[in-house]
């Protein structure tokens, strides 16, 4: 085995060289800036390189999709962000966009078309699933045997877009016998961060939502709580810390588990 540096292709350079990559990989703000979630971005890019996917990122040309602004009621700011992004996409003739963040995925897929931005939007799990199904990606299973995984459905993949099976299929090929929480799939409880809650204090109540959800995840007895959303990750990781379970329970994104199992 040899450690090889990865040069992440940036759209402006690729286009200047006269090439047009098949996919835009949309990193997202959390993917670019959040310390913990950057590891997820890195893991996923390793998977893309491993699968020889022809992609590029926007780099400094990327700007917030406008999702948190829109769901916080600021339609003006959302539309300004959206139009700016649509202009960027169109200037590079982008047709297919891969996202890791479900909020970015949802807004591209469901909200941008109203503003004229129509692209094929692919969630990273859908891409991984496609490669597993075509036989191009074989997952050797999680390294430590007997690791029990539970999966927390992000609202914007699950209820918002009906993606319940894909993450379970990917996790299933990593480690059979996924543990389900009491509220799962369309019944899943939100982590508490959606609708721009991530960026404000929670309203007064008798419990934090992320604690309620983490407790439910811990009840399954899993060693790993798998997430597929940057905000869910912040919430669940906080929840594990709050319950003083960091020693024996870990929160990983599915991309990290896949990259880890491939030894990337």
């Amino acid at each position: 085995m040899e450690r090889v540096p990865i040069e992440v292709p940036v759209m402006a350079n690729v286009a200047a060289a006269g090439k047009k990559p098949e996919y835009l990989f949309w990193v997202g703000c959390a993917g670019a800036y959040d310390d913990r979630y950057r590891k997820v971005t890195r893991a996923f890019v390793k998977i893309l390189v491993h699968l020889k996917v022809d992609f590029a990122v926007l780099g400094s040309e990327e700007t917030c999709t406008g999702d948190p602004a829109r769901r916080a009621g600021n339609e003006m700011l959302y539309q300004m962000q959206a139009m700016q992004n649509i202009e960027t996409f169109n200037s590079y003739g982008i047709k297919k966009i891969i996202t890791i963040c479900p909020h970015c995925y949802n807004i591209f897929k469901n909200d941008y078309p109203d503003l004229g931005g129509r692209y094929e939007i692919i969630n990273y799990l859908e891409l991984i699933e496609k490669f597993i199904e075509s036989g191009q990606l074989k997952l050797p299973g999680v390294r430590e045997k007997g690791v029990r995984i539970t999966y927390h459905d992000p609202c914007y993949l699950g209820r918002a877009n009906g993606i319940y099976d894909t993450p379970r299929k990917v996790l299933g090929s990593l480690s059979p016998g996924l543990l389900e929480m009491e509220r799962n799939r369309s019944f899943a409880l939100c982590c508490g961060a959606g609708g721009a809650q991530m960026f404000k204090e929670a309203e007064k109540g008798d419990k934090e939502i992320f604690i309620e959800r983490t407790e439910e995840a811990l009840k399954t007895g899993a060693d790993v709580i798998a997430t597929a959303c940057p905000f869910c990750m912040t919430m669940i990781t906080d929840g594990i810390k709050y319950k003083n379970r960091e020693e024996n329970v870990k929160n990983y994104d599915i991309a990290e588990l896949v990259a880890e199992s491939l030894g990337l």
Binding site: S60, T63, L115, G194, E201, E203
Partner: protein, 440 residues
């Protein structure tokens, strides 16, 4: 002949009252805004068959869901019998639909059986409400009037079923006593008919008349009470499912007026900027009852306050003020309060109150995580988050009112293109030192 005249007058009165109610409602709807166009009729029919007729969503809660489905399907069958009663009452015929033969036997048999099943289900519902603490039925919005409303409707339905069974039993006993052929099949009432054994034929006849008339009068009264009760649901739930939004739950409604402004800002020469002629500048988002779409109002009228939405709401579960059911109930209550004034003085009527703040507080609106659990759970596809988000739009775009964290979020997106205070130039920092293992 006399009874036909009495019946016709009763029916006329029923329709007159109902017509008055509908006219008032149409006026209220006329104050609301437009919503999505109703297209894809084929898909809508499929959704209605699955969600309304198939009761697919209510089964997410298996026990009460099953009981509800029985009551619903029973109502559908019994409705055919009620239509026959109206035909009989008007024309003086007896069992106008009996010429349908085998199908008539099916209708009467299932109607008779469902009469008993519904009566039992209603008794279970009443006992459960009285003796068990059902968390769904609690909450700040569930005042005494809501519970009274529920008991009245349950009692009415129970009386409807008891009079139905009484009517069928008396008919069966009467036919048996007179040695007549029994038209239709009555699995329950044929057993209950023995209660009349030993009675004079004339007495059984009177009992039949009493049950027949009380059943139909109860239907007339019930039908006219429903629009003023949470059980308007009985009429509106199926249409509400048919008219429901077909988009994925993650999609938000686009604000065309904003699109025009943004396009003008980005490209001042564009001709797109002109607003459609004759259109008045509308308020951004929802502040009061007349700002909602007709579909939001339809949702609020269809809601029967079952509380499944609030029961799954993460904010509500963790003790926050927000309750999606309350949002729907508040809209209906506010329209009821402001509606008469608007009918008199027009849409501009002002009573110095509004849906926002006098009914729904900012604290409730900001507690929503837009997780869509409420909308996913609602058995009749009500969309609560849409109204919550429209009210947020009003707060932010008309008043500049938002929690401090969100104001910081907005300025970060404006200045840095990210929700946090990081520089655009740092967007590639995550790639530093990125390596991959490759087999030699």
């Amino acid at each position: 002949m006399n009874s036909q005249i009495i019946f016709a007058l009763l029916l006329l009165f029923t329709f007159a009252v109902f017509g008055y109610t509908l006219r008032r409602l149409a006026q209220l709807f006329s104050f609301t805004r437009k919503s999505f166009p109703i297209k894809n009729i084929g898909r809508r029919i499929m959704v209605t068959l699955k969600v309304a007729i198939g009761q697919s969503r209510i089964f997410r809660n298996p026990f009460s869901g099953f009981l509800h489905a029985l009551v619903f399907w029973g109502f559908c069958v019994i409705l055919i019998g009620s239509i026959e009663m109206v035909a009989d009452g008007l024309s003086g015929s007896e069992r106008a639909l009996s010429s349908m033969g085998g199908f008539y036997n099916f209708i009467t048999a299932s109607g008779d059986l469902f009469g008993l099943i519904i009566a039992i289900a209603i008794i279970v519902f009443i006992v459960r409400r009285i003796s068990m603490r059902v968390k769904r039925f609690e909450g700040i919005e569930m005042k005494k009037a809501s519970h009274t409303d529920a008991y009245i409707a349950l009692t009415m339905i129970l009386l409807l079923m008891l009079t139905l069974l009484g009517m069928n039993s008396a008919y069966y006993a009467l036919a048996e006593a007179g040695g007549d052929t029994i038209i239709g099949v009555y699995p329950v009432s044929s057993l209950l008919a023995s209660l009349f054994s030993g009675s004079e034929t004339a007495a059984i006849h009177i009992w039949h008349e009493i049950f027949w008339w009380s059943h139909i009068v109860l239907i007339f009264v019930f039908a006219n009470m429903l629009p003023y009760s949470k059980h308007f649901h009985v009429f509106l739930s199926v249409p509400n499912v048919f008219l429901s939004r077909l988009d994925p739950l993650g999609k938000m409604v686009n604000m065309e007026s904003i699109t025009r402004e943004v396009k003008l800002m980005m490209n001042p020469e564009t001709a797109y900027a002109a607003a459609p002629e004759g259109s008045e500048p509308e308020r951004f988002g929802v502040k009061d009852a007349e700002d909602v779409t007709w579909k939001n109002y339809f949702d609020s009228l269809s809601c029967t306050q079952c509380g499944r939405c609030s029961y799954v709401c993460p904010a509500n579960i963790t003790g926050k003020l927000l309750s999606p059911r309350k949002i729907m109930m508040d809209l209906r209550a506010r329209m009821k309060e402001k509606g008469p004034g608007m009918i008199k003085e027009g849409r501009g009527f002002n009573d110095n109150r509004s849906l926002l703040r006098d009914y729904i507080t900012e604290e409730e609106l900001w507690a929503c995580t837009t997780c869509n659990a409420c909308a996913r759970e609602c058995p009749i596809s009500i969309n609560q988050p849409e109204l919550i988000l429209e009210m947020r739009r009003y707060l932010v775009m008309e008043e500049g009112a938002a929690p401090g964290g969100l104001k910081a979020l907005f300025s970060n997106i404006e200045n840095n293109g990210a929700p946090w205070q990081y520089s655009r130039e740092d967007r590639m920092l995550w790639t530093t030192g990125l390596e991959i293992n490759q087999p030699n």
